[in-house]
Amino acid sequence: MYLRHLQVTDFRSWEHVDLPLEPGPTVLVGQNGRGKTNLVEAIGYVATLGSHRVSTDAPLIRHGCERALVRVAVVNEGRELTVELEIAPGRANRARVNRGAVGRPRDVLGILRTVLFSPEDLALVRGDPGERRRFLDELLVLRAPRYAGVRSEYEKVLKQRNALLKTAGKRRGNDPYALSTLEVWDNHLATVGAQLLAARLNLVADLAPHAAAAYAGVAPDSRPAKIAYRSRLDEALPEGYGVAGGARAEEDTLVEILLQALGESRTAELERGVSLVGPHRDELELVLGEAPAKGYASHGESWSFALALRLGSYELLRGEAGGEPVLLLDDVFAELDRRRRARLAEVAASAEQVIVTAAVDEDVPGELTGARFVVSEGEVKRA
């Protein structure tokens, strides 16, 4: 698929931009702080309904404005769809497809698929487990949009259950009702949690070979890289779950395993007032040779690993139904050495569409010459 048009209004630093786009490489060049990343962020928002830089929407709205508008025209196998999002913090976003309102913004997921490389990706390797869970979940939603609903339902059930654990823990012993409702929330947590968990395990199984190959491609002299899903349930999980070529994770099996684990940790949970088992406690483990990447990998190795996770995601999505994703490369070439630059450029040059940002032209590899735009104060001009 490719973006044929991007239009943003009052998004970040942009009052208004209207950008016709084409398949193949597009380069946005401009000095620091001119708003290149802001444009990439707007595109990414349509694909994921979130920013890769901030967790709330307020910073996305141009200072002094009430809402931002992003509109894209996406062409997927010859069919064009227009998606328009109105982002207004403090209330629900509004979405339209081909100018008609859709029930929920979530319904636009899947129309535009992107894989975004950015300087923030280093946090995938060096950051908290939460960063890696988010990486998995976002990829999951790109793969199958219905998981956006599963994810949000899981969050809700988890919040409710934690609230109950807190109050029930305090009044333990004299509240028979609390325990019977806890069982209800256990069931819901296990049912929705199993859907999320199964999908993540299968995702990791499918992504692992791509990520390992991508790492070998960008850092052939380094020790091999491996990814694995780590869960508190590890010993209880059937053999082969989450492993490339292994058994596909089954939701029904996981419901039983989760319920069992919840039963076992009930006392501890009541004491601490939080849910201690479930996908919200799990982790994507990154291993280099024999050691975990986090805390051991060098700066260059960490970068290669982050790059490999994105490249692997791209290769995975590209090989599945739903349309080849648009590749977004925000300011990444400047960070890479010659070999990694060449490898990334090679993949990017083969993409149906790739949008690259850079502060100076020298940072853009020769393979990616295509449409060139100069981003300056308040405007984007075709050069």
């Binding site: 809700k156 019977s180 209800v184």
Partner: protein, 198 residues
């Protein structure tokens, strides 16, 4: 911030469900500009609603008498109870004209975050009603969202032990994450006729 009583009005309106600060402001200034006669009428019903309206002793629906119109209606099938969260849901189901039984209004859904457990809902009343009346089927029509689903599961567990009682849940087709009240009549009607036993 506006001065004194205008701000008080905005604050009060802002406390109402579904009204954000912006709408509260808009409504407040609309009221300020409204003819005193119209304001008088509004004041009048607001006063009466608290004095004159009560909740039905049997089902918990809003009512002007001890029992609501539906509970008093002898043509309604007493063997069938439809359990809903709020009085507005009774209206939604009534609009479908698919349902000939009676209702039970819980007054909300299980919602630990807001401190709402079984004790805060009219669940005990429901159980004693089923024990006392000749009820053969309970249809659970809580909202198809997180809290509504949890409430439904809880009710199923509580109702399991009544001999000869059929418990059904509205058939899906209702959009998940939704509100019964906003389901269109056709969808809701279909969900009612296609309800499944639990």
């Amino acid at each position: 911030m506006y001065e004194g009583v205008v701000q008080d009005l905005i604050d009060e309106l802002g406390r109402l469900p579904g009204i954000g600060p912006k709408s509260a402001q808009r409504i407040a200034f609309h009221l300020l500009a409204t003819d005193p006669v119209d304001i008088g009428r509004l004041q009048d019903v607001l006063g009466k609603v608290k004095e004159g309206v009560r909740f039905c002793d049997v089902c918990g629906n809003v009512s002007e008498e001890e029992q609501c119109r539906i509970c008093r209606d002898l043509r309604r099938d007493p063997a069938l109870i439809c359990v809903v969260e709020e009085p507005k849901d009774v209206l939604a189901v009534e609009r479908t004209r698919e349902f000939r039984g009676r209702y039970h209004v819980l007054g909300g859904a299980l919602d630990p975050l807001s401190g709402i457990g079984p004790d805060q809902l009219r669940i005990k009343d429901l159980l004693s009603r089923i024990g006392a009346e000749e009820v053969t089927e309970v249809i659970i029509a809580t909202d198809p969202n997180t809290e509504g689903e949890a409430t439904a599961t809880y009710l199923v567990r509580m109702l399991r032990d009544f001999p000869g009682l059929t418990v059904t849940r509205l058939a899906s087709g209702l959009p998940m994450g939704g509100d019964l009240e906003f389901a269109d009549e056709l969808t809701l009607g279909r969900a009612l006729s296609g309800r499944r036993a639990l």
